[in-house]
């Protein structure tokens, strides 16, 4: 039996190569993360104690053409379980061209008890946030996007965690998409995408960032919902207005300048709108990739050399997020070349199936973790559980995303000065026009 097993493996020869890379880089860390979260969640079943005194907090909501969503966003703050007299809301408009102010006024009328103010700034989210931070008076500063809603206990949970550990300088909440909107989506393809997006967010925040957070290696706080100690924030250069990755940048700044922790508050939820189309996803992920590159550039130089592999988590992160992208891209096609060297197509196919199953296995582990972490949130847990089939789809979804990210990397290098990445409809259209023109030229040439 032993002989049969090993001789079969030997026959597979080159095949095992394709499995080694994902096993080494992804499966081993995934198993380790699974165990860490598993035991951490079991060990921390009792929650932190509520503070005897709830501090004054400032909530900043940057607004840009948000008339459709702003009211609901403010409403979610007002319906929060955090003492309302301890909340200051600063809505900061950065050159909206719609009726956002009317939505603000309407919220003011509906919720007169809350301390709410409207500010105007130059265009750009980072500028808006910086101006509002200077005008805030809370001990803690919390940013939320105007197109999302807070879970009622999110603010309490966030502040509770801050108050229980003075070494925490900043925190990110967990972002999920609004399940009610996903349920309402009629288009089958879009619904598939939105379910996967929810699944992805749950995995990324509750598993991915949770692990990063345990080691104080959080790569980025969410731009949609994050909180800071005001004194920690004041030690930084504030939000960088020159990058699209201002959320990544502030994460690094806070950690570097305060020597404090930047962590995830897994039970503070903020619900954003699900993605509206594949085109939006295509643009969004390229923008995220660009942000990562821009911030990494800023922190590059001697700090990112290979000699810092063990001491600097950013190096390891870049290897996985950036370097592997190139390796994976070319090896997908390099494996096809094996067929021309009389390699068995069946074995090649088997290798892809095995890799796929490996990713399914990893996604299954995360699924278990997230279910454990959602214990106190029965509605979300129930919905997440209904996404069970995503375990089998997520490897395909991630595969598609990896191509979009690669496109983002190359586009950033070429177009960084004038970032005008087109959506894929426009790209197809441009290609179509050129091919059509060429065809007309050839046809015309022949006629002559």
């Amino acid at each position: 039996m032993n002989y049969v097993f090993f001789s079969t493996l030997s026959q597979m020869g080159f095949w095992i190569t394709w499995l080694l890379v994902p096993i080494l880089v992804e499966t081993v860390p995934a198993i380790s993360s699974f165990l860490k979260i598993f035991f951490h969640t079991i060990g921390h079943s009792k929650s932190e104690k509520s503070p005897t005194f709830w501090p004054f907090i400032s909530i900043i909501i940057p607004v840009y053409n948000s008339e459709d969503t702003l009211y609901e966003c403010i409403q979610s703050v007002c319906q929060s379980t955090y003492p309302i007299d301890k909340i200051q809301v600063i809505v900061v408009d950065n050159k909206s061209k719609d009726q956002s102010f009317k939505a603000f006024q309407s919220a003011q009328n509906s919720f007169p008890k809350i301390n709410m103010q409207w500010m105007k700034t130059e265009q750009g989210k980072a500028r808006a946030l910086n101006s509002a931070i200077y005008n805030s008076s809370g001990t803690y500063i919390i940013n939320i996007d105007s197109d999302g809603i807070l879970e009622p206990n999110a603010l309490r949970n966030l502040i509770k965690k801050f108050e229980s550990d003075i070494t925490i300088s900043a925190m990110t909440g967990s972002i999920l998409t609004q399940k009610s909107l996903i349920k309402r989506t009629k288009n089958v393809g879009l619904k598939w995408l939105q379910r996967l997006e929810y699944f992805e967010y749950a995995q990324a925040f509750m598993s991915g960032r949770s692990i990063e957070s345990q080691n104080n290696h959080l790569y980025t706080m969410s731009g949609a919902f994050s909180g800071f100690r005001k004194d920690a924030l004041m030690k930084t250069f504030m939000y960088d207005v020159s990058t699209v990755g201002e959320d990544i940048d502030i994460t690094f700044q806070v950690r570097d300048k305060t020597n404090g922790k930047v962590v995830l508050c897994a039970d503070a939820f903020f619900f954003v709108d699900p993605i509206e189309s594949w085109n939006k996803l295509y643009m969004q992920r390229q923008r995220w990739q660009r942000g990562q590159i821009e911030v990494s550039k800023k922190y590059s130089g001697n700090r990112l050399g290979l000699k810092s592999f063990f001491s600097n988590f950013l190096v390891r992160r870049l290897i996985i997020d950036h370097t592997f992208m190139f390796l994976k891209t070319i090896w997908i096609f390099a494996s096809i070349a094996l067929l021309f060297l009389n390699y068995s197509p069946l074995l090649l196919l088997l290798s892809y199936v095995a890799i796929y199953l490996l990713y399914v296995f990893m996604s299954m582990m995360v699924f278990v973790n997230v279910n454990m972490m959602l214990k106190k949130f029965s509605d979300e847990r129930k919905f997440y559980f209904s996404l069970f089939d995503c375990i089998f789809w997520i490897p395909i979804y991630n595969f598609i995303l990896s191509w979009i990210r690669l496109i983002g990397v190359i586009n950033t290098e070429y177009l960084s000065a004038k970032w005008t990445a087109k959506n894929y409809h426009e790209e197809f259209k441009t290609v179509g026009t050129i091919v059509k023109q060429d065809f007309i030229k050839i046809k015309g040439g022949r006629k002559k």
Binding site: S296, A334, Y414, D438
Partner: protein
Amino acid sequence: MSIFLLISGVIWLYALSVFKRANLPAFYFIVGSIGLFFILFFFSKPYFIWIMARAVTFAVSLVAHPLNLATVYLDYGLIAINNGFNMITMSIDYECSGVIETAAFWALLAFYPMYQAKEKAVLALLGLLWMYVTNVIRLILIVLIVHTFGVDYFFLAHSIIGRIVFYIFAVFFYYKVFTYGYLAKNKKKV
């Protein structure tokens, strides 16, 4: 060259021209790299593979012979590893030649927008050398393990440890060229 290859080549060149004119650098890079990889691969078959396999075998023989770890048959690309009692023969073929890995690296580098032509030429040479040396280290490691622990360890040495070592070296080189080189170079632009 088969007609199939010729037609594919023409289509590839036309696609590149379209992406260039459409100002779509990402697609230019992706389609360019993949196409060039196949071109390099088909041109390397069988001669470049043969040369590289012999070159690798030769380098291994320089270590294996004096230390009496294995008998290397240069003409046949064979390495017979012994551990006193048993012997196993390892054939240096396309898998061990490092040609596929080198072609993959060259293809990506050629279309990577970051470097100038001169820099690319230097990096291409460095890449060839790096893959070659890494491959030699991998094979010497296999020889050492099998010689010391016996032929039962061949699978572990060849398919697991050898490959892990090779990929760690390859990843480091890719990081240096595609990630670090690019970030460090662009730092001043930010």
